[in-house]
């Protein structure tokens, strides 16, 4: 874990990153609990165990940078600065949700922090990301665009189109692949040809790095380097982060397609305990860490309580924001 040494300049910054990971973890676990209790109406895709990836990457993004996410996007949104309470309300379908209850978990967006949306359709965020980057370049702005993609999704055609497009137009895009081993119930390596996604990316002339995605220091360092290159006009970059989906594809997934002991083995390398160990070895105290964990737990607990207490949206809002001309009242 030598990378962690170089990457985390100060322990204060490191603790802030640790806090983000803890927030994500708490958010995901509580979400799933609530789903199991029947208080959450829609599907919940947890990113438990993958927290280091968005945390390490978003540490290098600015508020005005754009982020395009996917179906497993809670962690991305939190790391980009979205308010977990508003996100939780959204997932509960309540007033005050990031999208007023119209979106839900798979469609969380918070434009005020540059989080341009989770997505229920695999790979579509990638093509949107290159277009946003083209707009940025047309407007002469100084923004970077980041998009997340799962390992399984790298077999969809638009993934490749977006890579080619980004490189042809030398766009300021960071593609971040969260390789959590699975796509739904399928091990991606069973339906993935060739030496790996990095080789595929390289064949478009795009520089890529592959890191242990459960090592926050490694993600942080690689993301910092790639993002600096993008900001200095180097065109698109690709970050491949190897991680593991500790929970099921959706929270109700019985995981009966896994080998015995598989989850447990991977629990041993989950990023939060690992980073805590590093923190303590590097000057933080056990108490600091526990306090951060407790604070995260309390914050999410409050978010759940607020969500539960929040009213459902006014039914009139179902009829608004479809389109200016020809909205649903036309036929009503």
């Amino acid at each position: 874990m030598g990378n962690e040494n170089t990457a985390s300049a100060s322990i204060g910054r490191a603790l802030a990153l640790f806090r983000t990971m803890c927030l994500i973890r708490e958010f995901e676990e509580r979400c799933a609990e609530e789903k199991a209790r029947g208080t959450v109406p829609g599907l919940v895709h947890q990113s438990t165990g993958q927290e280091a990836v968005p945390t390490g990457i978003c540490a290098h993004l600015r508020r005005e940078d754009y982020l395009f996410s996917n179906h497993r996007g809670h962690g991305h949104a939190i790391a980009k600065g979205a308010d977990p309470a508003a996100m939780m309300k959204e997932i509960f379908g309540r007033q005050g949700g990031t999208c007023g209850g119209k979106g839900g978990s798979m469609h969380i967006a918070d434009f005020s922090v540059g989080m341009l949306g989770a997505n229920g359709i695999l790979a579509d965020g990638l093509t949107m990301a290159v277009g946003a980057a083209q707009a940025v370049s047309l407007k002469g702005e100084n923004r970077l665009v980041c998009c997340f993609v799962g390992d399984g999704t790298t077999n969809r055609g638009p993934f490749f189109e977006a890579l080619n497009w980004a490189q042809v137009f030398r766009l300021p895009v960071l593609f971040a692949c969260e390789d959590n081993t699975y796509a739904s119930t399928t091990r991606t390596d069973e339906v993935f040809a060739g030496p790996g996604v990095v080789a595929r990316v390289a064949s478009f002339g795009i520089e890529a790095a592959s890191v242990d995605g459960n090592d926050l220091g490694a993600v942080d360092a690689a993301a910092g380097r790639l993002i600096a290159q993008i900001r200095s006009g180097g065109g698109p970059r690709f970050l491949h982060a190897r991680t593991y989906r500790i929970r099921g594809h959706i929270s109700s997934d019985p995981l009966n397609y896994r080998r015995a002991g598989e989850t447990e083995t991977h629990m041993a390398t989950e990023p939060i305990a690992r980073y805590q160990k590093w923190l303590i070895e590097n000057g933080a105290s056990e108490t600091d860490c526990s306090a951060i964990r407790a604070e995260a737990r309390a914050l999410i607990e409050r978010a759940v309580a607020e969500s539960m207490a929040a009213p459902f949206p006014d039914t009139n809002t179902a009829w608004t924001d479809v389109q200016d001309i020809g909205g649903p009242q036309w036929n009503g």
Binding site: P41, G42, R94, K102, Y257, T315, V322
Partner: protein, 336 residues
């Protein structure tokens, strides 16, 4: 007779066809493994009986799932291309519409494309805008396709079997809220339900209620409530949307003089218009009241339950519309 879920009935229907014909096979994402959601149980265990060459877990490549099915159909097999949702099916609609639907004709009848594509249709609580669409009319509007949308376990099994035996491409639409519903199915017989034939759900004399897919269940409840209110509704479940059973509908409307078409999908531009326009044109003199249509407002489906409920056509809407139709209620005046 056995009491089984819709998911189980279609699962067994597929297995029966795979046993009967070694050229039938299925492809799609995550077919072979059990999964938490009911939407995967319809392939459960098939891999054990038929192996990985006939129950194929594919990469996440929707275009190729459909394109490969077309190619495999041309090469003499009968693929069943699972797309999970019509929403994901949009990623493969080029291959379905530009290739599967046109090849037989375009190539002057040299080849047929006997594929079935299974796609989940419609609403399931709080799946949001991108997992709840109903676009059956798109397929009905596309020459070359057969379009099926069964409502009961027996029809699911029987129509899937008929679809697999059909020599032309069939879009087989399974409403996601139907998976868990149960019904009695007689597995001792072949159970084939012919394509293009409607099912009369309830007989009646006051009005005809034309429906399909999940709306058939809703309409059945509505008919019961209407009956308690002294209104006799004849519910016709089309089951096949193309070709739809015009004879059955016309026969019924000639008897009742009134027609209500109810659909879950957006009313504007929807399939209800097809039935309504045909009946209005051909049975103008028979109708004692204008044809009524019910459908969702033109709104992407919201997530939050009370908002979603604003956009759903439910039993009470059907009952209300039926009542206003038989009372020849003209409150909705001819002005706008």
């Amino acid at each position: 007779m056995e009491r089984v879920s819709y998911a189980e009935a279609v699962r067994r229907g597929l297995a029966e066809e795979m046993r009967r014909d070694p050229l039938v096979w299925a492809l799609g994402e995550d077919l072979s493994r059990a999964h938490g959601s009911t939407s995967s149980t319809q392939y459960c265990g098939l891999i054990d009986e038929f192996g990985p060459k006939r129950v194929v877990d594919t990469p996440i490549s929707e275009s190729t799932i459909m394109g490969a099915a077309v190619g495999a159909a041309l090469a003499g097999t009968r693929p069943v291309a699972e797309l999970r949702n019509v929403d994901f099916g949009l990623c493969a609609i080029d291959e379905l519409v530009n290739q599967a639907a046109k090849i037989r004709y375009m190539f002057g009848g040299q080849a047929r494309v006997p594929l079935v594509t299974r796609q989940g249709l419609g609403l399931k609580r709080s799946l949001g805008s991108q997992h709840t669409q109903s676009n059956e009319v798109w397929f009905v509007h596309t020459p070359g396709l057969v379009v099926v949308a069964p409502a009961t376990p027996g029809d699911g099994r029987g129509l899937l079997k008929a679809s697999i035996r059909c020599d032309d491409p069939v879009v087989f639409l399974e409403h996601k809220e139907l998976w868990a519903t149960e019904g009695d199915v007689d597995f001792s017989d072949d159970g084939i339900v012919p394509l293009g034939r409607a099912r009369t759900v309830t007989s009646g004399t006051d009005l005809t209620l034309v429906v399909w897919s999940r709306m058939a269940i809703v309409a059945e409840h509505a008919a019961t409530q209407l009956s308690a209110l002294g209104v006799s509704a004849e519910v016709i479940d089309l089951r096949t949307l193309w070709p739809w059973d015009r004879e059955a509908v016309f026969r019924s409307v000639r008897k009742t003089g009134r027609l209500l078409v109810a659909q879950e999908s957006v009313l504007v531009g929807g399939f209800a218009n097809e039935v309504a326009a045909e009946v209005s044109e051909r049975l103008h003199n028979t109708l004692v009241a204008p044809v009524r249509r019910l459908g969702a407002p033109r709104i992407p489906m919201p997530y939050s339950p009370p908002l979603e409920d604003e956009c759903r056509i439910e039993c009470r809407h059907v009952v209300e519309a039926a009542l206003s139709l038989v009372q020849n209620d003209r409150s909705r005046k001819e002005t706008t």
